[in-house]
């Protein structure tokens, strides 16, 4: 099978990347190791978004990525070749792809040792909790009226994704099981999509939030539960609570195929380019992103991969179509390289966003986020230059 882009992983970022590539007119194949698409959205509904919302999101994504070849049950195997002609083995299929986008996400692993605890039946990871809540077979009924506590920022400090997950799950536990929910964390981020509203909802439902002032909460196992000491005020007296179930944050390990991706670069969290040309990285594999972040990131990776295929050259920069720009400042706020500013365009006779080409790294974040669709990644492919050469140069 010959495609222009092979996307590895059919989670939210992989599907959104595939859908964006399809929109750009590329021939795409999506490889997924599991038997169905959706990644975390399917395996642990309620983790990235409230369960019902997650299901609708997944349906929309699947519909948008429909024209791409979805190869489920095909884990990515060996990779050979180079940019323009990667040869990929996936299960019993062989693929030739011009570029590869890695959207394989992270593997979540509960590590009670981080909390100074032994593994136990009443210790769960966040994704386990999400899985159990969605499983009608799981008998969570005995948690009714008990006390469930979420502990964050221990295994994975400051993870926006995990904080959002704990928020969605806390609300679900409170609603479905009528259990008392406690929330322990270093700091609460409500920067993610819709999290502010979710936080208010949780407060209204009676979820108790503990923010530790420099000292993490201490847990001790008791018969049938745990005893928690938390220090909500600096130098103050500890608060002591008995809980029945502890839900802990998990360690996240990149879920990478066994490929040689070259030496890791220092700020690999920013760009979509892996050290190996022609291979791009997106989604939770690349950075700590919530669902909305993953969807946008997939589109950005698609723009970068598309620009790469058009040019096979490093001179990829964002360009603004000045008359179309809505001057909403989205790109100015989002650009991780501070390459965007509002400037006057003499030709268009109006102000619009302008790219500082020296600062732009062609990451495509602005392309994905622009609500007016005014930004594209440009490059100047060899064919363009030779076409001009052969047609006797430009006449303008």
């Amino acid at each position: 099978m010959k495609v222009e882009v092979a996307v590895v992983g059919a989670g939210p970022s992989g599907l959104s990347c595939a859908a964006a590539l399809v929109r750009l007119g590329r021939k795409v194949a999506v490889l997924e190791a599991a038997e169905a698409t959706g990644g975390t959205l399917r395996a642990a509904p309620g983790y990235l978004a409230p369960a019902a919302e997650g299901r609708t999101r997944l349906q929309t994504l699947q519909a948008a990525a429909g024209p791409a070849a979805l190869l489920t049950g095909h884990p990515a195997g060996s990779l050979s070749g180079g940019p323009g002609a990667f040869r990929l083995e996936a299960g019993n299929r062989r693929l030739t792809a011009g570029a590869v986008v890695l959207a394989s996400g992270v593997r979540r692993r509960l590590s009670p040792a981080d909390h100074g605890l032994e593994p136990a039946y009443n210790l769960l990871g966040l994704s386990d909790m999400a899985r159990l809540l969605a499983d009608p077979q799981a008998s969570l009924g005995r948690l009714r009226g008990r006390r469930v506590a979420f502990f964050l920022d221990v295994s994975a400090p400051d993870s926006l994704r995990q904080q959002a997950a704990a928020m969605h799950l806390g609300i679900a536990v409170r609603r479905q099981l009528a259990a008392e929910v406690l929330w322990f964390g270093r700091d609460l981020k409500v920067a993610g999509d819709g999290l502010e509203a979710r936080y208010r909802e949780a407060r209204d439902l009676g979820v108790t939030f503990f923010r530790d002032a420099g000292r993490p909460p201490m847990l001790t196992a008791t018969a049938g539960g745990y005893r928690v000491w938390a220090w909500p005020e600096e130098g103050g007296e500890p608060v002591e609570v008995a809980i029945d179930l502890a839900v802990l944050d998990e360690r996240e390990e990149p879920c990478l195929p066994q490929w040689d991706l070259g030496p890791r670069r220092e700020n690999s969290r920013l760009g979509h380019r892996s050290p190996r040309p022609g291979i791009f990285v997106t989604g939770s594999l690349r950075a700590d992103l919530d669902l909305e972040g993953c969807l946008v990131d997939g589109v950005a990776a698609a723009a970068v991969a598309d620009a790469f295929l058009r040019g096979l050259d490093g001179l990829v920069r964002a360009e603004v179509d000045a008359p179309r720009c809505a001057r909403c400042l989205t790109c100015v706020r989002l650009c991780p390289h501070r390459a965007m500013a509002i400037a006057w365009y003499r030709e268009a006779d109006r102000a619009a966003a302008k790219v500082d080409k020296a600062a732009c790294r062609g990451c495509g974040v602005c392309v994905a986020a622009c609500p007016a669709l005014a930004i594209t990644l440009t490059t100047c492919p060899d064919e363009d230059i030779y076409r001009q050469l052969e047609s006797g140069g430009r006449t303008t």
Binding site: D313, L315, R317, K357, A358, T378, T379, C380, D382, I385, Y386, Q388, L389, E390, G392, G393, R394, T396
Partner: protein, 131 residues
């Protein structure tokens, strides 16, 4: 005889257009616009030479004016490298030249262009040369 100029869209293209409007641009010199002179590599220039162009002029921005930071310097290094190669291969290195220009530098660029055309036509006897 025809010659070719690879011009950078940011500066040289504007200067060349202006020179053409002023009538100072030599007729023989055709333009190929690229986003940055750093985009031009050795193969593009040799490609032009093998397509029958008698000479190639690469025009970039002035130093420190390149929007892509050092595209012009990269281009200059490439042109120098190619000139050495051409010399070793027994081709006149004078057929390839690099110029720096500013968007307002139409007269200067036009003069450099006319010089190149005159020099090459002088060397080839006005007939051009197949590489």
């Amino acid at each position: 005889m025809k010659l070719l100029a690879f011009v950078c869209e940011r500066s040289a293209l504007r200067a060349a257009r202006e020179a053409r409007e002023l009538g100072a641009w030599p007729e023989e010199l055709e333009l190929v616009a690229v986003p940055c002179s750093g985009r031009i590599d050795v193969l593009h220039i040799t490609g032009a030479l093998t397509r029958g162009y008698a000479g190639v002029l690469v025009v970039g921005c002035h130093e420190e004016a390149c929007e892509f930071v050092q595209g012009n310097l990269v281009a200059r290094r490439r042109v120098e490298y190619l000139r050495r190669l051409l010399e070793q291969a027994g081709v006149d290195p004078g057929r390839v030249r690099m110029e720096l220009a500013s968007p307002a530098g139409a007269p200067r660029l036009a003069r450099a262009a006319r010089e190149l055309v005159a020099e090459i036509s002088c060397r080839t006897g006005g007939k051009g040369e197949e590489a």
